[in-house]
Symmetry: D2
Subunit: 325 residues, 4 copies
């Protein structure tokens, strides 16, 4: 089991596979190219063995990898929204007139943490229209409500308590939570979208007892959508060192002593050593790309439009602006 | 009973008094100059007769009138925060370790409606600190939590439902709601603060069945703080016409015909006529001063600091920045 | 000559025409319905007599009146951008490879004054691309640069000095300035766009000696685009009183005394009386609709896209997003 | 000469010193503890040899290192503003009634690049007051103007051209430019302030021919103030590797082969190898801490207040709010 922090099932599976040269037991993986520039994979965790290795509950995790997401292009962005809606529909499968409640987690004052609130600000919210003017809405528009409850440091209230209190009133059929994630690789920041059907457990596994967002705590199914927006500094250093070690190993073929030395380094131990070495200098440094403002804005558009398309089956992308103000 | 729309008890009382040349029955009024530039009055509604005339529930309404509030000055602003905290304390009277929940009502995307959310963003939120590090906080800091739940058009959820759902979880001892108000006079915009102990009934009296924020609906006392930020267009026209009529009456002393004509106009009927005349041209026009961005910013600072001082008895104005980030 | 403050040539002409029952001498007016919901008129001031009455220099002023502009609809907004581009092209008539410099006037911190900076933030700026990668741009893209110089209160520098200093460096072939205007009618706020070929004279006619933005001061032709975003309080009161007087006159036919009295009021004198009466109460109150945030955002999108289409002849509306980030 | 990118004279000097175990020739360094938590050093480059090694023109560079700057505390922040004003005064030395022009460089849409515009938005701008109401200002207030000209990608105009064009009009006695810097160490991000008397050469040394901001290009002395807000990804990896190598060397004392191998790695070559290895994976990755929004806000307050104090000799920190908006 890896010590390297990641919120992505796909990444945890990759680390295990790289270290052990075999598939994770208790996990089924399917990978395919959805269309040019969009790779999709499904990690199905089928038992507790798999859950323990991946560090996530039994369930299904769809990952979209889109290296081009960072390079803004209106047409590609539209294509992505539609493609994301298609993957989301596999998991959400909303019934006609089911009420969906979308929750944008995170702190709107901290750009790399603001993905959730930004998505919510771009949603087509309709639940109140259904109630007050049912006949004015055309078929295929489902009741959607949305909120950005903030974070504990801003409200003084556990976010899950605000959400659960509201759920008791609204009685939605499904909850979709959106959150910024941490990845172990800079390549994935703002280029990967994960959709999971097991909700979200903030800070799970680090002795943190915060309330979860899942069916057990909320009473209805919780879908989680996440995009990596940060990487911890030790991870960045570690990844680089791996690259260097690979190069050293390659170049040291004739040098038995060095080869043995470098090869013998256990990569998990190495990560812990880096973490330990760095902490006095930079604390628990978490970094984000300089272009974070643009990355968050672009990712939030794609996700918001994808949710709009997936939840309102009678709506096409070109209709969405008509309802949004 | 007047048809002229106002959210201020003081203003409704003034209109009745002007029209009837006597105090409102069922109402007790006290007025004094708190300090230079700050006039305070208390309207105590003591029975249903008074409640019907004022258009508000039985209870106490403190109004601070500060003509100079619009002219930013750091020293005067500090004095105002302290003075506001003093008035607020008369109504809130928080016990040691009581939990207060502050709710900023209104739409953060519409500047004249954003007072509540802006106040909340400047509060000293401490409830989570009390819980996680009780010993690190010095005496006199009470548990305060805060939220800005948005508006129906943004969330698709009745705001009172979000608040009540959260109240059921947090179980505060008192709720303080902050809202932008409508006044019938431009002079009062951003220069008047009303504090009431009966909560808030959005759109009360206009056939609107939205949930109220009061002890009946929330289960705990609800204090409402409001500042006028808008005036409806018909009111502005009406006020001007009153000034003109006064001038005409004054100038027409020798002209019996004209004097009778102008004097005979019923001022409530006149307002309705203006409303009716204007509607085809400007709809339900509601206006705000051009400087609305600055006015909201300044008012929200004073109210936030006043709440900070009133709720945390061990804190002085100069300490507040230390806890705020 | 009217005392009523307006920045719209069309409005000044209307006031004259209403008061004098004839066309303004020295002025030629053409009016037509461009398409459903979009009325256009041209006021051509041909001599100094017309210039004095209208209060603007000899030149051409195109006014688009779009009552529906306030009701957001993505399709209508696109149609408007294209229609606005068509009118603008009549006046701008840009040559291939001419450099245009767009200047967004106004204070970005005051929402009703922020139209210019908002438009600039949505422009397709290309001058630097032409210079650094000429071959990568397809034909039909002209060099456009843009700036929002702020206002005197923010910079401490006359805005025209910043602009002229930059003009001396950039040497554009044409300057387009965008500014928020004052109208005398609330109906026109955010529903009217004026395009003029004589530049802009901030605070002209009120003894203000600030530098102008015109060919004389800048050395190249200056096109001015403006949208009314505010109305002064006295004007609003005055307009209402006009409506009331019209009704009183209508209803007082049998009442000679009253009819004479009301009819005899000179409407310009009345405005001055209102101004004088209101000033002690509200100062020089300037008001804007409560929805100002949305109005400015919508108007700035239409104008920015119209400029993008008019300046880059090889670009269609659907291409614009591709270049904008 | 080092290949490691840094905008800090102090850092370039440190690298040279670490690699060569001696002071940089042509450079004089003084270091002292200004007060608790504030370390100051002066790097005086006295000849071209020193200039070439440090990578900066002959001149004086004051560096303030304040590890505690990241931990917001209102009192410490005030102390810092005053201390920064003291250092700035050593270099600026403004004469009574000299006009200072402050220029906030950088892109306000990219948080880590927005330091300059944020500082400018908090300045006490007075040049226009001096001109329009000279008698209303008390002694000790100097004429200050300020602008945030944007960046080439936003305006399509070389920033130095906008500034120089404005300088020709305003004719200031001194220019102060503020910019975000790149550091080679994460510890320095938002904890170090550099003040230099030689202006700024954007992208100097990398074949970039952009105009400089210095006395030669502007005609008046240019002071540059900068704070590191970003680190390039390769640097972060490199620093970590240095730490690891130090540890390996320490632990490998008995292991001759390994010791020789690790010791023999040239640290500049190592950096280039890392850069080369990383580029295919992350491009020219530049990173910033997750808390970048707060760091920029705090640093801009300290610098703005320091400039306010340094330029207006008759003003104390407590007076500043009175004049600000």
């Amino acid at each position: 089991m890896s010590n390297i922090r990641t919120d992505l099932a796909m990444e945890a599976r990759q680390i295990y596979k790289d270290d052990n040269n075999c598939e994770v037991p208790g996990v089924e993986v399917t990978e395919w190219e959805e269309e040019e520039g969009i790779n999709v994979s499904t990690v199905k965790i089928i038992d507790e063995v798999g859950a323990k290795i991946i560090g996530k509950p039994i369930g299904t995790y769809i990952t979209m990898e889109i290296p081009g997401l960072r390079h803004y292009d209106a047409d590609f962005q539209d294509k992505l929204s539609i493609s994301f809606a298609k993957q989301l529909s596999k998991i959400v499968n909303i019934q006609k007139d089911s009420t969906a409640m979308v929750v944008g987690l995170g702190n709107w004052n901290i750009t790399p943490d603001a993905l959730g609130p930004r998505v919510v600000s771009k949603l087509m919210v309709t639940r109140h229209l259904k109630k007050y003017m049912p006949n004015e809405l055309k078929a295929g528009i489902n009741p959607v409500c949305a909120m950005s409850p903030g974070v504990l440091g801003i409200t003084g209230i556990e976010t899950a308590e605000i959400v659960h209190g509201t759920v008791l009133k609204v009685k939605p059929d499904i909850i979709i939570v959106i959150d910024s994630l941490a990845s172990r690789s800079f390549e994935r920041v703002a280029t990967t979208i994960q959709i999971g059907d097991t909700g979200l457990s903030p800070g799970s596994g680090v002795g943190n007892t915060r309330m979860s967002f899942n069916k057990a705590s909320m009473g209805v199914p919780v879908i989680a959508i996440g995009v990596p927006t940060v990487v911890d500094g030790a991870t960045l250093a570690n990844d680089t060192l791996d690259l260097i070690m690979d190069k050293l190993i390659e170049e040291s073929k004739g040098n038995n002593e060095l080869y043995k030395m470098v090869s013998s380094i256990n990569r998990d131990e190495k990560y812990l050593m880096i973490k330990e070495l760095l902490t006095p200098y930079i604390g628990d440094l978490v970094v984000t790309p300089k272009e974070v403002d643009t990355l968050i804005e672009d990712a939030s558009k794609i996700i918001a439009n994808g949710i709009n398309i997936a939840l309102h089956t009678g709506v096409e992308l070109k209709d969405i602006n008509r309802y949004l103000n």
